[in-house]
């Protein structure tokens, strides 16, 4: 349902400077019609600036913002068919829930009929599962309900683009989880293009069709959640998306399969970005790519002896923090089943950590 070559909005080399501060640096990105795209990164990475340029609250210092192929740099927010769910909802405290949701409809010219507005608002309230809440005042609503009102207020206008600025930051974890699923379902149902800004990698991974990872005002990598997780192209992405162990070494032979020497041991793995011989690089291994054994590791597996430092029980799996003299401390994820076969490991115990030869990725340290 995502049109691969059907762009709805585009940022073209868009930059935003505030005096000497560069909030967005040469950001180029195409948003596809109907997709769920997330901007992911820590605070100050430029993700909110990118969103605000799309919304029309910021005019790019250089570069262009396109909407449906039209350049809209200077088009004010109130003329853009784009709506936003604000971080703290920004609901109007002096209006009822109904009037908040009807606000956008009442701004339309020519004016809509009262009955049409009432019908649309009721439908939006149904969509966010708050029927009969129209007469309530905003301060009578809980945080989760306010978030639904904010969502209804935006979707009732049937925008071409729905922007969500950290919409779940103020919700507790359980509620956030429910809301993530609900948002995703809603997006599929409405077919509206969603653009989410978040610093929560789990949120981005679980909801998005594509994720745009940002750092220092620049886009570092764009791809599907799976792409980013399996093939991060920089250390930053590997570190930010999911958990990763980095084993530092020096490149000894470059190529698609790169060879690296770590603490006197030769290792090899795929390198998504070209590296040069002698460069400082790391072997990146996800905790689930490493397994733990009591006995020495089997054939075809690289292994190191470790001492268990800590055990973190997480239900469906257990994380072990282990220590190796050469590699330092790293994380190993042991699924419940594997633990049942091998038996549990106690802190202080000696064990063997191993991984498939060639597993993981080699990424430059910078």
């Amino acid at each position: 349902m995502v049109g691969q070559n059907d762009p709805i909005a585009e940022l073209r080399s868009a930059s935003k400077h505030y005096g000497a501060v560069i909030a967005a640096d040469n950001v180029s990105l195409t948003i596809r019609r109907g997709e769920f795209l997330s901007f992911l990164g820590p605070s100050g990475c430029g993700k909110t600036t990118a969103l605000r340029m799309l919304a029309g609250f910021e005019v790019p210092t250089s570069g262009d913002v396109l909407l449906d192929g039209q350049r809209v740099n200077e088009l004010p927010a109130y003329r853009r068919p784009i709506n936003m769910v604000f971080q703290h909802y920004a609901l109007f405290p002096h209006l009822s829930v109904f009037d908040n949701i009807a606000y956008g409809l009442r701004q339309q010219r020519p004016r809509l009929e009262k009955a049409a507005i009432a019908q649309a608002v009721d439908k939006a309230l149904d969509t966010v599962r708050l029927p009969d809440y129209g007469a309530r005042r905003i301060h009578e609503m809980s945080g989760g309900q306010q978030q639904r009102v904010a969502l209804a207020r935006a979707i009732v206008n049937e925008p071409k683009l729905l922007l969500l600025d950290e919409p779940m930051a103020a919700l507790d974890k359980k509620l956030r989880r429910d809301m993530q699923i609900e948002l995703q379902t809603l997006q599929r149902k409405l077919g509206i293009t969603f653009v989410l800004v978040t610093h929560d990698q789990e949120e981005a991974l679980s909801m998005s069709d594509r994720i745009c990872v940002m750092q220092g005002g620049k886009i570092v990598q764009i791809g599907s959640p799976r792409d980013l997780y399996d093939r991060p192209n920089t250390r930053y992405v590997a570190d930010f998306v999911g958990k990763t162990n980095f084993f530092h070494g020096v490149v000894t032979a470059a190529g698609a399969i790169c060879h690296i020497e770590i603490a006197g041991q030769a290792r090899s793995a795929a390198a998504p970005k070209a590296l040069v011989v002698g460069q400082a690089a790391s072997l990146c291994l996800r905790p689930e790519q490493i397994s733990l054994h009591h006995a020495p590791s089997p054939e075809n597996r690289a292994g190191v002896p470790v001492t268990i430092s800590a055990r973190i029980f997480l239900g469906e799996h257990t994380e072990y923090l282990v220590q190796n003299a050469d590699l330092g401390a790293f994380l190993v994820l042991v699924p419940r089943q594997a633990e049942a076969v091998e038996g549990a490991f106690e802190p202080g115990q000696k064990a063997q950590a191993s991984w498939q030869d060639g597993a993981g990725l080699i990424l430059g340290n910078t």
Binding site: F57, Y78, P93, Q107, N157
Partner: protein, 263 residues
Amino acid sequence: MLVLPLIVVFVFSFGERGPAGGYAPAFSFDNFLNLGARWAAFKNTMVLAPIGTLACLLIAYPLAYFLAVRASPKWQTMLLILVIVPFWTSILIRSYAWIFLLGGKGLPSLIAAMGLGHIQLINTPFAVLVGIVYGYLPLMVFPIYVSLERLDKRLLEAASDLGAPPMNTFLTVTLPLSMPGVATGCMLVFILLMGEFLIPAMLGGGKVFFVGNALVDLFVQSRNWAFGSAVAVALVLVMLITVTAYMRFTRRWAGGRDDISLM
């Protein structure tokens, strides 16, 4: 302690003038029936106090809006200080300045010199109004400034995002959310204006007098404390009615909101 003087005034209002002035105990409603004698003072007050309040509001709102929303932080402090500075000198001295400005040698002579004819400014209701606006402007600016300053600017972005042009945003978000400040400012100015006597005395030159002037006259000049008390009680009653109306008004606007505090 707070109500004691009020009780005294209330009791006095049913008494009569002592032989040598002051108060003599009695019980009659004569003083109240006689209030009509001071009708002009009540009329002036009831006309000029609301007009003065309105004039203050019309000038103060744009000023407060500019201060709170448009001015850069550096200018904000500067301008706020400028609004307060007149408060540092006595209203008496500032009123003398206005007597000069509006008097024969001030603005009217300037207007005459420009060949625009002779006009009388001092000792007119207009002069009193000018004095009122000048003296009470800060009292109106501050509550409005505070309510605009506290206004969540993201609400303005939200309105714009939902398709409201700047004028609609102002009318549907900024203005309603600053109403508590407007109400507080109006009440503050209005109540104080009802008791005002200095500005009408100086700029109205005895031709435009307020209830306040009537009180000064009755208590200090004619020493008819009983009648003066009756006038004062009547004034308090009028104020009580307006304050009650005000409370009703703000309560309706606040609608139980927790983000807005009443006076």
